[in-house]
Amino acid sequence: MGFKNLISSKKILSLLAVFMLLGTSMLFAQGTESAGATASPAADAVKDNGLATAGYYILLFLIVCFVIGIVGKILRVFDLTQQIQGKEPINWNNVMGICCLIFLIAGGYAAYWEFKVHGAMILPDAASEHGVKIDEMFWTTTVLTMIVFVITQILLFTFLFRYRYNAKRRGHFLPHNNTIEKVWTIAPAIVLTILVIFGFFTWQKITDNVDAKGEPASINIDITGHQFAWELRYPGKDARLGATNYKLVTGINKLGINFKDKYSYDDLQADTMVIPVRKSIRLNIHAQDVIHSVYMPHFRVQLNAVPGLPTFFKFKPTITTAEMRIKLNKPNFEYEILCNKICGGQHYNMKKIVRVVTEAEYQGWIAQQKPYLTDKVKKSLNFAAEKKEVQPNRLALNN
């Protein structure tokens, strides 16, 4: 009976193969047709095309299912005939044990390949002072965890192969062994303690917000996230940023700068974040609407921008953009700021270029930047000053 099934399914298989060939050729024909008719984007033709492709894949899928069904049938028939002839049926335990071994070898090679190929595509060395420490920490952790990864996976899959089922054998009754259990509780505990201590001090140093003695004060830069862009604000000659208040935000005064604060008079706007190399930078991070996250992967900098809760991150860039371009052999390389906290539909497109330059270049650049206090703003301010009391009311009504 099994054989009958097999034969009939073979027939059906060949029928299906013919069907598939026809389908493919028809599909190709259609593909060329629509390629020829790209000039006139007829919606129906496009729709047909999509359906046909889907249909093709569904057909392919059905055929795969069918083949699997047939293979299953063949296996069953084989098993049955073996049994009838008094021979051993397929020993699936052996098959699976060998599969595990193959997986171990193939998977091991694949993992190695990944490390070699994709591992070469990861971020270059940190371009900031604290980033170097993070990288050290990272590589230590990587080495430790990879040792564990390799050993445990090898053990897992070789055990599976080595101890696959054998009717003549019994498992080794071993309910527990306190010594070895203690060893493998304490060993990871020690390794983790080392990592914790190492990490804790690195973390403390990175988040330390006090300017070191004897060093010049950090350059304060305000970065404000909103849907879907970053705004920058540099302090002017006074090296101090003026106060802001979100209630003062208008179409002209995007950041809500309080221009009654004299420090705000010379605050500068900028399109690109240009920062001098080897100078401590203090990024003051704000958000206007939802949570964003300032992420500068090359500098190992990330901190959320939370509305109502200003945060800051201090770092010191060490490699200029020009140096990095040479180092990576990418003439178009730019440092970037990304948004790394889901913030809405255009979340994927909140980009700001960062350019690390020499001190001299920086001074030249900053001299060219325009202040936030433009003539337009001045005009509107004078206007607002007359109706000083009206403004809060208007806001209340807006609510």
């Binding site: 335990n93 897992l156 509780t185 939802v290 109502g308 945060t311 539909g345």
Partner: protein, 630 residues
Amino acid sequence: MSTLSVQDHGVVHHEDDHGQHHHKATFLNTYVFSQDHKMIAKQFLITGITMAFIAMILSVLFRIQLAYPEKSFPLMETLLGRFAPGGRLDSNFYLALVTIHGTIMVFFVLTAGLSGTFANLLIPLQLGVRDMASPFMNMLSYWFFFLASVIMLSSFLVQKGPASGGWTIYPPLSALPKAMPGSGMGMTLWLISMVLFIASQLMAGINYVSTILNMRTKGMDLWKMPLSVWALFLTAILGVLSFPVLVAGVVLLIFDRSFGTSFYLSDIVLNGTQVQPYEGGSPILFQHLFWFLGHPEVYIVIMPAMGISSEVMSVNSRKPIFGYHAMVYSLIGITVLSFIVWGHHMFVTGMNPFLGGVFMITTLIIAVPSAVKTFNWLATLWRGNIRFTSAMLFAIGMVSFFISGGLTGIFLGNAALDINLHDTYFVVAHFHLVMGSAAIFGMLAGVYHWFPKMFGRMMDERLGYLHFWLTFIGAYLVFFPMHFMGLDGVPRRYYAFTEFESMKQWLSVNTFITWAAIMSAVAQVAFLFNFIHSIFWGKKAPQNPWHSNTLEWTTPVEHLHGNWPGEIPTVYRWPYDYSKPGAEEDFIPQTVPLSQTMSSNLPHDFEDNPTGLEEHTKWANTQKSNEEVK
């Protein structure tokens, strides 16, 4: 009193059921509003699988977008309409897909589908109980879950689409309907669904804990419970203690959304000019409340999988689980520690750095019990006699994923490293391996292993093998390369990687990942076919198909209300007496008294039983002297 209640109530209760108020078995109360724990388990399982398939299809949709960001698929427009104008996914809808995929997988599949199925099935059956403490609450729990699922899915029918602020729904994004389309009606539905879901989980969890603590059969003390029940027990405790905190967070969010309060909102200007009235709120407060649940939640997801895998691996290695006590203590350790590590999700929120340091220490400590579990599993396999059933393969897959994903947790738990890895694809890879794939594999191991118990028929093993290898390899192909994307600083939840020059090198990898994902998704058809086919036409199952020791295999294959036809069997030994030297067969069920297996008893069996030990030594001595006489 509870010890007393353990003794006789089963029998009496059973008579009570069949003697006094005879329920008429109608279709409605047998299959729909059933109060029988086995039927509820099946309901949870089937709903869970359905939700898993839906969430999987969502993931394939957004994977296609990531693989072909610039290409248009007219079919997509036909299927999704306004969500895919011109055959390309809308960027807001992309986020909705990501959000709903995460929500469904974490809550509806891996919490309700996993715990709901196996706690309902195994707690009464493995502990020798007729039914749950409150069967009515149990039924209610399922129907709340069902309602929650329906509401969650119905949000796809809303004009502006479902919630799309990520499954963590951080305000202000989720609190301001103007901030994104999904934060309107879709978010409201999400919140309603979640409240119902939590109610369901609380009712279920309360029942599980109470049943385990009060209703075990005679002789079943806590240290004789199978690890699966231990895991489900601790999971239920976690759920009962952490879900209410999420309710508190959600209630405050609802007030912020609809009643104009400012718990989470402050200093907000929308669209550049619209100053919002909120003042003084703290978005971080929500994150604290959310992650106080959210972190235990990931253990709610993984612990049942651990328990199931331990059980399955022991049965199929024909070997006791290595270090049973250590396994239980590590589960307890994970349970306790999981409440004090939530801050590691918030290292880069601008939280007090010292607090960050503390959370880092607690987080890395939790790696120790996890390591112990892993080593114990390996030791269980060592010198076993490993039978490769489909369930066994999935349990092994679970261990492999748990190792691979768990190790990257050591990076992410380190606050200093997290600065650069937070919210990148490294995180995506980490949690999809350690809690996504591992937990799903644990669940599938459970399905394959206890299918005969649930449906009285066997699943096809060879299809199971196919399913396993395709899924196992597929999952590694999908998630392994993601680590490197994360190390390159590629952020998660990005609609397309075309806007940044630096990310373009990953486009080909994305295409590869998508095809791997499609392959694994298609492989699930093998499971679905096997599952449905076997329910109706599978081979009839024998009473104890896996030669397992636990109590559930002493019940008849045909289900009956009350589980055991006669008296509930008494338990005499721990559940892992496999391949005991001196025993006739390579397994001794829990119901066999030690007095019947004198030849195989070990001093180890009498650890807290001095009289038993005395008997045993006496017996051993007589044996010895007999031999000498001979």
